[in-house]
Each structure stands twice: as structure tokens, then as C-alpha cells.
């Protein structure tokens, strides 16, 4: 784009949209005009207040028999603000918030800028006071929203509806921006594999060339025209330059990502999942979940949005699988469109139904025709799909042809959003994104079975419901809040997940006992605005090599460290930090294995002390031996001493009351037998 064009384009956009945006700010900055208007039109103001479209709707009462979150929790009433909001945490230390980079903000943010005022007056905006309060913060919340995270080495990749930002996290407390890559199209979910970065695009403004200009609008039809053409079928507007699907970038040069492929799909890509086949060293696969409209056949050949009985090749009721040859990523293409929802007996493509009943305004008990997100667990050859009306389990041993093994629905579930496995694969945590993440759904009057996690047992490839977990603290009515993305924290001996709840903040949940999940740590900050629901909060919160990173939709990037509490000891935190991975794409879940180091043994001891599964004197004796071995750097005598504990620990493991304690004792014994440095 030439400079002249850039300026012209900016003016164009400003005059149609942005200019108006700042009227609200001007209002704040020119109190005299505001006051005079007020005086002149007090009645109208009063009426406006009653009909203020920006005021949040009060929460309706709790349905009978339901309970809500705790309104007395200290998180319930925090001071609002963009960057000065009240913050509170337990068991988490907030290291820093990095603000969203400037290229991911609107063109000009300075209402006093003469250019803006000039534009406004040219547009004939005579009375800025007519603009409602809050207008300036409501426009374009989503267009620049941060989305999901991926990690590789010392780099963090933060997706955004407008592109990707890449950070250097060598020193997490001093995280620094490396690259801002502009490439709009939403949601911008990212994955990384070696030298490749993948990115989801679904919105109609996405362009193959990463351009920000979108596509020119046609003139609105006049009312007369509308009537005349009422019976005529609408003519689609195919755009060959439009891109909806999965982009693939070469990130060999981290400061110069190059687009190597752009694989188009009919519904675009709302999310995607990197699938690595352990048997296939030459390719990786991408499962594409599309949730929005099917585009026209004229734009992308073969796309049909018809019902399955009308068109067996409909782009509904399927996912898309892209095969990416690692040696030639430019040849990536869709290789299959698995019909995951087929009824195996009748062959009907729409074989799944949701029994959900709870959603007031988010309910979708329709035939499930899409997945929102899929988490693969290649170590087990399984995937868990959160597919609008259902939670499903897939066999992915042949990654190109996943097969459905089980499907569940839940009467309290509105929209099956995402899934994750426990490390041993015996539990699955699903989330319900009731209201799509745009609404306040954690108010004291919102039932805590709605918009919550649902925990299932997984045994013999069958899912069985166990319990719900929802953010225990009530949130305000201007805070969008519902269950969203999280990852496991690799504390040995426990199942712990850190999870983002939008403006509900970050909650760390222990689900070792799948029937009784409990919160063990949290972070929250106040709403962005006290009067207007401004979309924000943490999209995803993931543990990566010792720290927790949370993608804040509106504000930027949050970085945390765990701190010890009664619910989590320093040894357990240190043991989690022994797990170091080269890459992290949370939806491509990896089996965690812990080194046989003494710090891991100490974590088990802390847990056995907490659960009282081992007598105090024995715990003390093992701890003393460990301490001695640590100071001698595992000399033979100390090794022998450690080994001497193993047989009795294994024996106790056999009689432990809980299976969790039994496994801890067993693992502890194994470490003491062969401790590594």
C-alpha cells in the first residue's frame, strides 16, 4: 500500500466509522457543550437513561433449585478500569501485563487530534453529545481481540483477530515483543510445529494476501429495488481474493514470517487442532473446525450449505482434515472431510442430537453439525471433540479418518466448546461456552451448572458424567464470563488445570477427585468498565515450562507464577517445573512424564502428608534421607538409604485408601529406587 493510499484509506475509514467513535471521547473532553445540551434537553436525557442501550440488563432470578456463584467472594466487586482495575490473587503471582501492541489498536486514539475533528466536522456531526456514553469503548472490541496462544522454545505466539504477535519469553518477567504480524480475518487461533505456524481464519474480511482492506461494500438496495427483487434469488458476491481457512507460515526467521500456504475451506476455520501422527514423520495434520456460514459454490467450488438430505456433499455435518507435508508445506491441502456425526446404522449424516435444555438464549439443541474445538491425545490415539450439541470421543489412530467412539450430551449444557484429557486419560474436562463468551454469565444469579466445566470419566472409550465446576466467585454484570480455555499444570500426583474465564479471570482447579473438583488458586481483575459490558478478559490461560500465560482479549498478555499455599506446596510447584517441553499447542495434548528427581519425590511426600496416606514419622524419615542425598549429591550411601524405603512404600501403596495415593506411593518408591540428578 503506498503512502498516499494509506492516508486516503485511513481518511475513508475514519469518515465512515472511526470519526464517530471519538465523539464519545470528545464529549468527555468538551464538558461545556455537554452541559448546554443537558440543560436544553433534560427530559430527553432522562428518557435516554431509561433506554440506554449500553446499560447492562439486570440478571434474572435463579431458576428454582439452582445455586449461583458466591457474591461475597473478594473477586465479586473489584474496582473497574482498563489498566488500573483492582486485582486480587491467591496462589498466583502476577508478574506483568504487557499491553497490546499499537498496530493492534485503532488508527488514531487521540480525540484531540485535529485530523479527527476535521473529519467529524466534514461529516456534519453537529452534536457529539447525542453519542451515548461508552460509545468509544464498544466499537470494534472484537476486530482487534487477542485470542489463543501457542509456544515454542522461548517464543510465545499470541493470536489476534487482526494477526499474530510473537514474544520472547526467555525471561518471562521481562517478556518482550519480537514481531507483530498483521493478517486479519479472526479468530487467529495459532499453532506451531517446528518451522511452521498455523492460523485460523473465518471472517469474510480475510484476504489471501493478509490485506487489511477487506472487500468493498456494494451500494445498499433501495426500498423499491428490494420489493422488485423480493422474489429473485440473491446473487452471491464471490471474491477470489477472499480467504477463509487455515494459513500456514514459515517462521524460520521469527522476525519475518512468510506465508507458504493458505488452505481454503467452505466454513473457514473457527479453531484448528495440530495432529501429529507418531507413525508419520513426513506430515502433520490439521483438524479444522468451522462454525459459521458456508460460502457460495461460486467462490469456492464444491461448497454447499444444503441440508444433508438435499445434498450428501454438504459442507455441514463434518470437519475438514488438512495434510501438511513437512518438506513441502506449500502443498498442504484438504485430504478428508470426516462425517463425525453420522448415525452408523442409518448412515444419516446428522445422527447426533443434543438433549440440552438449559440455555436461555444460548441453547442449541439442534442436530450437531459442527465441532467447535477438538483436542487430540495422540499418545492414546484418542481425541475429544466439543461439537456444539455434544461431547464426543474419537479414535484417531488413522488421523485422516477419525472415528467416533462415543457421544454424550448434558441437560445443563448449551454449547460444547472445548475439551481436555487428564494426563492418564481417565478423565475429560469439557467446557460450556454458554452465550458465546459475549455475555455476563457468572453473575450470582447465573446457575453454577450453566456455562461451567463438565467433568467426565473416560473408561473403555465411554464417557460418564461426574461433576460440574464453575468459577466459584460471582462476577459483575459488565463482565463477560463463562468457561473457556485452559491447560494442565504438570504437578505430579494430581490433576490440575489452569483455566481462563474471560473477565472472570484465571482459576486453577484440582480435579484429582473427579466428583469433587476444587479451586486451589486464582487471579481476577475488575471489569473494564462499570457501566458497559466491554468485551475483554482472559481468552486462554496455559502453563508453559514453569509459568502461566494468559491471553487478555482487550488488554494484552498476562504472565503469572504459581506461589505456594496450603493447597499447593513449593515442592509441587518445583516438581511441575521439571517438565520442560519444546513446543506447546494445547489442543495437541502431550503425555506428561516426570524425571525421577528428588524434587518430584518431595512433591509426592507433601501430597501424602496432606492426605495422611503415610504416617508422619515415615514421611519425616524419607524427607531426612532425601535432604541428606541432596546435600551429598546422591552419594552411594545416601542412594542405598533411599532405596531402602521403596519396598515398604510399595506395600503401603497396595493398601492405600484412594487410587491417587496408591499411585503417589508407587511413583515415590520408583524414584527412590533410581533417583536421577
Amino acid at each position: 500500500m503506498s503512502r498516499v493510499h494509506t492516508i486516503a484509506f485511513r481518511l475513508l475509514v475514519a469518515s465512515f466509522l472511526l470519526g464517530l467513535l471519538f465523539v464519545g471521547r470528545m464529549q468527555a473532553q468538551t464538558p461545556s457543550s455537554q452541559e448546554s445540551t443537558k440543560a436544553a434537553d433534560a427530559k430527553s436525557d432522562q428518557k435516554k437513561a431509561e433506554e440506554d442501550p449500553f446499560a447492562p440488563e439486570p440478571a434474572p432470578p435463579l431458576p428454582a433449585g439452582m445455586t449461583g456463584s458466591d457474591a461475597n467472594d473478594p473477586r465479586a466487586k473489584l474496582k473497574p478500569g482498563w489498566y488500573d482495575a483492582g486485582e486480587i490473587s491467591k496462589g498466583l503471582t502476577h508478574l506483568l501485563l504487557l499491553k497490546k501492541p499499537d498496530p493492534f489498536r485503532l488508527d488514531t486514539a487521540d480525540a484531540a487530534n485535529p485530523k479527527v475533528q476535521e473529519t467529524l466536522s466534514r461529516m456534519g456531526v453537529a452534536d457529539p453529545s447525542k453519542m451515548p456514553k461508552g460509545a468509544q469503548v464498544v466499537v470494534a472490541q472484537l476486530a482487534f481481540a487477542n485470542s489463543d496462544l501457542a509456544f515454542q522454545g522461548h517464543h510465545l505466539f499470541q493470536g489476534n483477530f487482526y494477526g499474530v504477535n510473537i514474544y520472547d519469553i526467555s525471561n518471562p518477567a521481562k517478556t518482550q515483543l519480537v514481531t507483530s504480524m498483521i493478517c486479519p480475518g479472526g479468530q487467529g487461533d495459532v499453532s506451531v510445529y517446528r518451522n511452521l505456524m498455523f492460523m485460523s481464519v473465518e471472517q469474510p474480511n480475510g484476504r489471501i494476501d493478509c490485506g487489511t482492506q477487506g472487500f468493498p461494500p456494494g451500494p445498499p438496495p433501495s426500498p423499491d429495488q428490494e420489493k422488485k427483487e423480493e422474489k429473485k434469488p440473491t446473487i452471491p458476491a464471490p471474491q477470489k481474493e477472499r480467504f477463509r481457512g487455515v494459513r500456514i507460515f514459515d517462521i524460520s526467521d521469527i522476525k519475518n514470517p512468510r506465508q507458504v500456504a493458505a488452505v481454503q475451506t467452505c466454513r473457514g476455520s473457527h479453531t484448528h487442532t495440530l495432529v501429529v501422527d507418531p507413525k508419520d514423520k513426513n506430515n502433520v495434520y490439521i483438524y479444522v473446525s468451522g462454525t459459521s456460514f458456508v460460502r457460495q459454490n461460486e467462490e469456492l467450488a464444491g461448497c454447499s450449505g444444503e441440508k444433508p438430505d438435499k445434498d450428501p456433499n454438504t459442507a455441514l455435518f463434518r470437519i475438514d482434515v488438512i495434510k501438511v507435508p513437512l518438506a513441502a508445506p506449500q502443498d498442504a491441502r484438504v485430504v478428508s472431510n470426516p462425517r463425525l456425526f453420522m448415525d452408523p446404522r442409518s448412515g444419516a449424516l446428522n445422527g447426533l442430537n443434543n438433549g440440552g435444555t438449559h440455555g436461555k438464549d444460548g441453547e442449541k439443541p439442534t442436530d450437531t453439525d459442527q465441532c467447535h474445538d477438538i483436542t487430540v491425545f495422540s499418545a492414546m490415539g484418542l481425541a475429544a471433540g466439543a461439537c456444539s450439541g455434544n461431547g464426543i470421543v474419537l479414535d484417531i489412530k488413522d488421523p485422516v479418518h477419525p472415528k467416533r467412539l462415543d457421544a454424550v450430551n448434558d441437560p445443563n449444557y448449551s454449547y460444547w466448546h472445548s475439551a481436555s484429557f487428564s494426563n492418564d486419560g481417565t478423565k475429560v474436562v469439557f467446557t460450556d461456552e454458554w452465550g458465546g463468551g459475549l455475555g455476563a454469565r457468572c453473575r450470582a444469579n447465573d446457575p453454577n451448572k450453566w456455562g461451567a466445566d463438565a467433568l467426565f470419566r473416560l473408561k473403555g472409550n465411554k464417557l460418564t458424567f461426574a461433576s460440574y465446576y464453575k468459577l466459584p466467585a460471582a462476577q459483575g454484570d459488565t463482565e463477560n464470563c463463562v468457561a473457556h480455555n485452559g491447560s494442565l499444570i504438570p504437578v505430579p500426583g494430581r490433576d490440575i488445570e489452569v483455566q481462563a474465564w474471560y473477565q472472570g479471570g484465571v482459576s486453577v482447579m484440582d480435579f484429582t477427585d473427579v466428583d469433587h473438583p476444587v479451586e486451589i488458586a486464582y487471579f481476577d481483575r475488575g471489569p473494564i468498565d462499570p457501566h458497559v459490558l466491554v468485551l475483554g478478559g482472559d481468552w486462554s490461560a496455559y502453563w508453559y515450562n514453569g509459568h502461566i500465560y494468559a491471553s487478555e482479549i482487550a488488554r494484552g498478555l498476562d504472565i503469572f507464577e504459581l506461589s505456594p499455599t496450603a493447597f499447593l506446596t513449593q515442592n509441587e510447584i518445583d516438581a511441575a517445573k521439571t517438565v520442560q517441553v519444546a513446543e506447546l499447542n494445547v489442543q495437541n495434548q502431550q503425555k506428561i512424564e516426570w524425571p525421577a528427581r528428588l524434587v518430584v519425590a518431595k512433591a509426592y511426600l507433601d501430597q501424602l502428608e496432606r492426605s495422611q496416606a503415610l504416617p508422619a514419622d515415615q514421611i519425616a524419615a524419607v524427607r531426612q534421607a532425601i535432604q541428606s542425598a541432596e546435600s551429598s549429591n546422591l552419594d552411594p550411601k545416601d542412594r542405598a538409604k533411599l532405596q531402602s524405603f521403596a519396598p515398604s512404600l510399595k506395600k503401603i501403596a497396595g493398601t492405600a485408601k484412594s487410587s491417587a495415593d496408591s499411585k503417589r506411593l508407587q511413583s515415590l518408591a520408583e524414584i527412590l529406587q533410581r533417583p536421577s540428578k
Binding site: F9, L12, V13, L17, V23, P53, F54, P60, D102, P103, L106, D107, P132, A135, V138, Q141, L142, A143, H154, D168, S170, N171, L177, V178, S180, I182, G186, Q203, P204, N205, C210, T212, G214, F215, P216, P217, P219, P220, T234, A237, I248, N256, P257, R258, Q259, A261, A262, V276, P278, R295, K360, D361, G362, K364, P365, T366, G436, L438, A582, Q590
Partner: protein
């Protein structure tokens, strides 16, 4: 542990941190040459990293196979063009939703059916909520919440309903509304469900028409909203169809 653990540089982070401590004041270009062999060995990544972190770049890739351009760091975000069709869609959908709310308001005095009552409460609640969203969307863009070519005088026709206003797709005609108002009990249930199915079907048409319009639907919020409307109304249509088919009219609900 991980399949690709071989690509891991697990000690890299720790090492650079230590080295950083030593060479905090070393400048990459000059001091390194004079540094000891040991230091030089390790300082290359340090240097690279400082450069990497020191000056963030703004880039915009091209189409596949095309080069990536570096943009000035002063680059700011721009939005895709607003489409007049987006504004018309929102204005029209407000009117469309308003009729649904008006229809559900009849339920209390016209039927005892639990299924219809419960469904109606949900529809009323979700459509009112969405009306608020749409008004907010329009107001924040400085747009009127009603279509400019629908003067108030048209409201003078009869009651507060839609009089002779041009109807959005699927909206009930004044005659249909009148029939609904005059029905009671089972007849009301039937007319309500068939009417609301017709009404919701119109919303799906409106969404489809929107995305069939050049340049429309590029606004991120409108895009997400329409996706929600589409899947939400499809769901309710199916519920209502099954209520009609079962003729239980939701007694079980």
C-alpha cells in the same frame, strides 16, 4: 517424553539468562570481540536474542509465495469498510426481533400450555437481549436504530404493531398477528408455534442474504452475532417443530 523432544533446547533459556547476567553491560558489536573464547562461544545467542527482543518489527505477509513486507512501527490498525447492508441488517433485525417479543407477550393471557410458556419466556429473553446488543452496535456507530425510510407516521396505522411497515422476511402480516391475538388455548399454541417458526425462518434468510451481499458481514462483532443468531434460531425452530409434531406441545417440559 515428547515425540519431538529432540528439537528441545531445554537449557537454552537458563543458559542465556546466566550469560545475560554476566554481560548485561556488554554491547553486542564491540565488546564481544575482546571477550574471552568461552564468552564468545555463548554470546552469539545472547546477542541474537537482544537484537530480536530489542526492536520489535511490524510485518505484513503477502499471499503464499510472496514476500513479507516490513511496515513502520507507527502502523495502526484499520477496520474493513463498514457496509450499509450491515446497518440495514441490524435495523431490520431489531424490528424483526421486536415482533417476536410482541408475540411472546400474548402467551400469558392466551394459553396455559407449559411448553409454550417456557419456550416463549426463553425467546422473549433472548430476543430482548439481542435487541439491546443491536441497538448498542448501531448507537456506537452513530447510526439510528430504526430504518430511515420508516417514518413514524406509519405507526399511526392501528395499534403499536407493525401496521403497514414493510415487513422483514418471515414477519407475520397484520392479519396473522390479528388471528394470533384472537386465538385462545390450543389454537393459540398452534398459531404461535407455526408463526414463530415462520418468523425465525425469516431471520435465517436475513443472515443468508447478508452474507450474500458484497462487502457485508466484515465487522467482527456483527459476524459473531449473526453466527449466534443463526445457530440459536435454528435450534429453536427444531424445538418448535418437534413440539408441533408430537402434538404434546411441550407438556413434558
Amino acid at each position: 517424553v515428547f515425540n519431538y523432544l529432540r528439537h528441545l533446547r531445554p537449557l537454552y533459556v537458563r543458559r542465556t539468562r546466566e550469560i545475560r547476567g554476566v554481560f548485561t553491560f556488554a554491547s553486542c558489536s564491540s565488546v564481544l570481540a575482546a571477550a574471552s573464547t568461552f564468552a564468545t562461544l555463548f554470546s552469539v545467542p545472547v546477542c541474537a536474542q537482544q537484537t530480536e527482543s530489542g526492536a520489535p518489527v511490524v510485518v505484513q505477509p503477502g499471499a503464499p509465495g510472496k514476500p513479507t513486507r516490513t511496515l513502520p512501527t507507527t502502523t495502526r490498525g484499520t477496520l474493513p469498510p463498514a457496509s450499509p447492508a450491515d446497518v440495514q441488517f441490524m435495523q431490520g433485525m431489531i424490528m424483526h426481533h421486536a415482533q417476536a417479543v410482541e408475540m411472546t407477550a400474548l402467551i400469558e393471557s392466551h394459553t396455559q400450555n407449559k411448553g409454550v410458556t417456557s419456550l416463549g419466556a426463553r425467546i422473549s429473553r433472548s430476543q430482548s437481549d439481542e435487541i439491546r446488543f443491536m441497538k448498542r452496535w448501531l448507537a456506537s456507530r452513530g447510526q439510528p436504530t430504526a430504518m430511515p425510510d420508516m417514518p413514524d407516521m406509519k405507526m399511526a396505522h392501528g395499534d403499536m404493531s407493525h401496521g403497514s411497515m414493510p415487513l422483514m422476511p418471515g414477519m407475520l402480516t397484520p392479519e396473522q398477528m390479528e388471528a394470533l391475538r384472537n386465538a385462545k388455548g390450543h389454537e393459540f399454541d398452534r398459531l404461535f408455534l407455526t408463526g414463530m417458526i415462520q418468523h425465525h425462518g425469516g431471520a435465517l434468510t436475513m443472515v443468508k442474504d447478508l452474507f450474500d451481499t458484497a462487502g457485508a458481514g466484515q465487522d467482527a462483532e456483527l459476524f459473531d452475532f449473526t453466527t449466534e443468531v443463526d445457530s440459536g434460531q435454528r435450534a429453536e425452530i427444531r424445538i418448535m417443530q418437534s413440539m408441533l409434531e408430537k402434538k404434546s406441545l411441550g407438556d413434558k417440559r
